[in-house]
C-alpha cells in the first residue's frame, strides 16, 4: 500500500478516535461540574479537558477568565482552536477524503454524513444542541464508523493501519485521562484506598467516561478506588480501553504487517506489551502513579513515531 495512503488511513482513525475521546473527556467533566462542590460552579472541572489536551494556555490567551460557556465552545466547536473536537472531525474527514478510493463507501458516507451534521451543530451552537446530547452523538458517530469499518472493509493492510491509529490514540488518551483525574484528587489520592464520597464520584465518572463502569463492578464488586481503577485501566487485558488491551492489539497488528521495514515499531510494541503483562499494580504505585503514567505516555509516543517512520514516510 502507498505510504501516503497508509498515513491518511492511520490519521483518519486517530482523529476519529480522538474525537470520541474528547467527547468522553467532555462528558465526564461536564457531568461532574454539575455536582455540588467547591462553590466555583464547576469551573475547575470544565477546565480539565483543556488542561488534558494542553490547550489551556491558548484559551487563556484568547479569552482570559475561565468561563463555562466559552470553555465548552472553545473545546468542542471552536473552528479557530486547532485542537477542538470540531477540527478533529474535520481532520478525520479530510484524511478520509484523500483515501476515499481505499475505504468502503459505507465508511466514507458515514463519515461524510457526520461531518455535514457537525457543521449543522456548529451553526446552531452547543447550548441549543445540548452538551450531553453532543457527547453522545460524537460517540455514536465513532461507534458507527468503527462498525462500518469492521463490517465492510477487507482485512488487508488498509484495515491494519486504521486499527493501528485507533489503538495508538486510545492508549494515549486512557493514560492522560487517568493521570489528570489522579492529579485532581490531590492528597486524597495519596491513599490508594481512599473512599470519600468525592473520590467515589470522581472515579465513577472516569470509569463511565471510558465505558468501563460495568467492567469494574463485575470484577471488583465494590466502590471504585484509585488503585483498583488504575489496575483496571492500565493492566487489565479484557477491558477494551485499557492500556494493556491497546498494546496487545498494537503488537499483534504490527506483527501481521507485510514487509520488513517495521522492525523498530514491532520491537517497541512487543517490549511494551510484555512489560505490561508482567507488571502488577503495586509496582505502579511504588513508582508513583504520575511518574509511571508519564513514562508510558512517552513510550506510546515513541511507538507512534516508530510507526510513522517505518511505514508512513518510507522512501
Amino acid at each position: 500500500m502507498l505510504s501516503r495512503t497508509a498515513a491518511d488511513l492511520y490519521w483518519m482513525s486517530r482523529y476519529m478516535e480522538r474525537a470520541e475521546n474528547l467527547a468522553r473527556m467532555l462528558d465526564v467533566s461536564y457531568s461532574l461540574s454539575l455536582m455540588p462542590q467547591d462553590g466555583r460552579d464547576g469551573l475547575d472541572e470544565l477546565a480539565m479537558p483543556l488542561l488534558i489536551t494542553g490547550t489551556m494556555e491558548d484559551y487563556r490567551a484568547r479569552h482570559g477568565e475561565l468561563d463555562a460557556k466559552r470553555m465548552l465552545h472553545f473545546f468542542a466547536l471552536d473552528e479557530s482552536n486547532v485542537a477542538s473536537l470540531y477540527n478533529c472531525m474535520a481532520a478525520a474527514r479530510s484524511n478520509a477524503h484523500a483515501v476515499r478510493g481505499r475505504i468502503t463507501s459505507d465508511m466514507w458516507e458515514n463519515l461524510n454524513a457526520f461531518w455535514l451534521e457537525m457543521r449543522d451543530i456548529a451553526a446552531q451552537g452547543l447550548d441549543r444542541y445540548g452538551i450531553s446530547r453532543f457527547c453522545e452523538w460524537v460517540k455514536q458517530c465513532s461507534h458507527l464508523f468503527r462498525g462500518a469499518t469492521v463490517g465492510t472493509l477487507m482485512r488487508s493492510d488498509a484495515y491494519r493501519f486504521i486499527r493501528l491509529g485507533t489503538f495508538v490514540e486510545r492508549a494515549d488518551n486512557t493514560l492522560r485521562l487517568l493521570d489528570a483525574r489522579y492529579e485532581l484528587l490531590g492528597e486524597d489520592s495519596d491513599d490508594p484506598n481512599d473512599a470519600s464520597a468525592r473520590a467515589y464520584y470522581q472515579w465513577s465518572a472516569l470509569l463511565r467516561a471510558l465505558s468501563a463502569f460495568e467492567a469494574f463492578a463485575e470484577i471488583y464488586r465494590g466502590s471504585p478506588r484509585a488503585g483498583k481503577v488504575a489496575e483496571l485501566l492500565l493492566l487489565n487485558p479484557e477491558v477494551p480501553r485499557s492500556l494493556r488491551a491497546c498494546l496487545t492489539e498494537l503488537q499483534q497488528i504490527l506483527a501481521s504487517l507485510t514487509g520488513d521495514n517495521g522492525r523498530p515499531a514491532q520491537r517497541l510494541a512487543a517490549e511494551l506489551e510484555a512489560g505490561l503483562r508482567y507488571t502488577s499494580i503495586d509496582e505502579v504505585l511504588e513508582t508513583g502513579m504520575h511518574a509511571w503514567i508519564a513514562e508510558h505516555i512517552e513510550r506510546v509516543n515513541q511507538l507512534g513515531h516508530a510507526i510513522q517512520q517505518s511505514y508512513l514516510e518510507v522512501a
Binding site: L2, H97, A98, R100, G101, E109, T258, G259
Partner: protein, 467 residues
C-alpha cells in the same frame, strides 16, 4: 430559430423511443418525483459526489445538479454516433503519430505546418518517440450537439484529460436506485462496465503482460478529484499523487509501506505542464522529477500521451474531417460545426461583422471559460470581446450559434425544455470502443447554451434505448 426537442417532435407528439418514459411520467404523481429528486440530492451529497470551482478560495464542494428526466437516444441513431466517434478518434491518433514522426499530412499540404508546429500543445519532446500501438489519446471525450434539423455535430474533441465519466456512471446508478421500474419496462443498454474497459485499454497500452497501473491525481483539491478516486477504486488500482512516485534509473516507482514498487502505466489526470518539474513547469509541486526521461526510455506509459493537446486545439479542429479523409480514406460520419478561423483575415472580418450572431472561443480554452455567446451577450460584452479579438485574432475561432437541442428538465416552475449536449468517452487500446451512452450535460438556466458544470450546468442520465 428551429429547435430540436429530444422528447417531442415538431407536432408536439412524443417520439417513439420516449413513449414508455412519457407514459410512466404521466402516471407518476408530481410529489413523488419531487421527493425522489430531493432524495437524489441527499444521496449525492452524502456520497460526496461533488466538484470544486477554481478560483473559489474556500474550496467549497458543490453538487453538480442532477436531473431525473433522462436523455434518451434510439439505438439505431446511437450506432451512427458510435461509428462516427470511433472513426474520429482513430484519425486523431493517426494524426498525432504522424505529426510526431513523418509529418505526412503537413507535407501533403492538408494542414499548414505552422498551425501544428507552432501550436502551444505541440511537444517537441514527443518527436520521434514510438508509443506502443501508436496510441496517444487512450481516453477521448467527443462533445456532440444536435442542431435544429436533428443532425449531430462534433463541437470539440477532448484528448488531454477529459472528465465527467464518473457522473455518467453515478447518474445511472442513481436512476436505477430511484426508479428501478423504468429499467424493467424497457431495454436500456448498460454502461457499468466502463471501468473494466478503461483498465483493459490502459493495460493494453503497455507491452508488458500484466503491467502495474496507477491513476495520478493532482490531489484532493482538484475539481475532478472525486472522479480520480472513483476510477481508481472501480478499477482496483492505486490512486497516487506526484509525491508518491519517484524515478530511479529511468524507472518509475511508488512509495509503499513495504518499500518501492514499480509502476508501468500512469493514467494521469494532470496536464502536460505539471508532469515533470525537470522538463516542464519547474514550479510544479504536483509532478514527478525525471518522469519525462523514464517516459522517453519507454519504461512507463502515460495515458494520455504527452502532446495530445495539439490535436484537440480549436485551431486544429476545422481540419479533423480532412484528417479522416487523409488517413482513413473514408468520408466523415459525424460533421464538424462550420468554423471561421480568425487568424485568416477574411474569416476575421466576417466574424467581426457578425459578432452578435456567433459563438467565439479561445483556441486554447476549455471549461466554457473565455468564450462569447453572441446572442446572449450584452452590447458592452461584445465590444470588449471585439477588442480582444482584434488584438490576438489567432487565438480565436468562431462558429454559428447552434440551436442546441432541448430535453424536458425539472426546473422551479415544473418541467421545461433546456439545452443539452452529449459527451461519449472513447477508449483506445487493442481496439477503439465506447460504452453505449455518455455524459449528457444540461444548461439549467432558461435559454442558456453553456452546459459546463463550472458555469452552472447539470447532468442527466443518458439512455440508449433498444427499438
Amino acid at each position: 430559430m428551429k429547435m430540436y426537442d429530444e422528447m417531442y417532435d415538431e407536432h408536439g407528439d412524443c417520439r417513439p423511443h420516449y413513449r414508455a418514459f412519457a407514459e410512466w411520467l404521466a402516471q407518476t404523481p408530481k410529489e413523488l418525483l419531487a421527493q425522489r429528486q430531493r432524495e437524489a440530492d441527499l444521496l449525492f451529497h452524502r456520497a460526496g459526489i461533488t466538484f470544486t470551482l477554481y478560483g473559489d478560495k474556500q474550496g467549497t464542494e458543490r453538487l453538480i445538479p442532477f436531473d431525473t428526466i433522462p436523455r434518451s437516444i434510439p439505438a439505431r441513431e446511437w450506432r451512427t454516433i458510435e461509428a462516427g466517434c470511433i472513426q474520429r478518434v482513430q484519425a486523431l491518433n493517426l494524426f498525432l503519430a504522424d505529426i510526431y514522426h513523418e509529418q505526412r499530412i503537413l507535407k501533403a499540404g492538408v494542414i499548414p505546418p505552422e498551425q501544428v508546429l507552432a501550436n502551444e500543445g505541440y511537444q517537441l519532446a514527443m518527436s520521434g518517440l514510438d508509443l506502443h500501438r501508436g496510441i496517444y489519446a487512450h481516453i477521448a471525450g467527443v462533445d456532440l450537439v444536435r442542431d435544429g434539423d436533428g443532425t449531430f455535430y462534433v463541437l470539440e474533441d477532448n484528448l488531454r484529460t477529459p472528465s465527467g465519466v464518473s457522473y455518467m456512471l453515478e447518474d445511472r446508478k442513481m436512476m436505477m436506485r430511484l426508479f428501478p421500474e423504468l429499467f424493467a419496462s424497457q431495454r436500456i443498454a448498460p454502461i457499468g462496465h466502463y471501468p473494466n474497459l478503461l483498465l483493459e485499454a490502459l493495460k493494453s497500452s503497455s507491452p508488458l503482460d500484466n503491467p502495474s497501473v496507477v491513476v495520478l491525481t493532482p490531489g484532493r483539491f482538484n475539481s475532478a478529484y472525486f472522479e480520480h478516486a472513483f476510477l481508481a477504486r472501480e478499477m482496483g488500482v492505486e490512486l497516487v499523487e506526484g509525491a508518491d512516485l519517484f524515478v530511479r534509473d529511468e524507472r518509475v516507482f511508488m512509495r509503499t509501506t513495504a518499500g518501492a514498487k514499480p509502476v508501468d502505466v500512469i493514467y494521469r489526470r494532470l496536464d502536460d505542464a505539471f508532469l515533470d518539474p525537470l522538463a516542464f513547469n519547474p514550479d510544479s509541486m504536483l509532478g514527478v522529477p525525471g518522469l519525462l526521461a523514464a517516459y522517453r526510455s519507454g519504461n512507463v506509459v502515460l495515458a494520455n500521451a504527452i502532446g495530445t493537446g495539439v490535436a484537440d486545439d480549436k485551431s486544429i479542429y476545422p481540419y479533423v474531417t480532412d484528417m479522416i479523409r487523409f488517413y482513413l480514406d473514408e468520408e466523415p460520419i459525424l460533421q464538424n460545426v462550420p468554423t471561421w478561423q480568425c487568424r485568416k483575415p477574411q474569416d476575421l472580418s466576417h466574424v467581426l461583422a457578425h459578432l452578435p450572431e456567433l459563438v467565439v472561443k479561445e483556441t486554447q480554452g476549455s471549461g466554457g471559460y473565455g468564450m462569447l455567446v453572441g446572442p446572449a451577450a450584452s452590447q458592452a460584452e461584445i465590444e470588449s470581446f471585439r477588442e480582444r479579438l482584434k488584438a490576438r485574432p489567432e487565438a480565436y475561432i468562431a462558429q454559428p450559434t447552434l440551436s442546441l437541442s432541448t430535453c424536458p428538465t425539472f426546473v422551479e416552475s415544473g418541467i421545461a425544455p433546456r439545452h443539452i449536449d452529449l459527451r461519449p468517452f472513447v477508449l483506445s487500446g487493442r481496439e477503439t470502443r465506447l460504452v453505449p451512452g455518455g455524459l449528457t450535460r444540461v444548461a439549467l438556466r432558461e435559454g442558456s447554451l453553456v452546459v459546463n458544470s463550472s458555469q452552472g450546468g447539470g447532468t442527466k442520465d443518458t439512455w440508449i434505448v433498444e427499438d
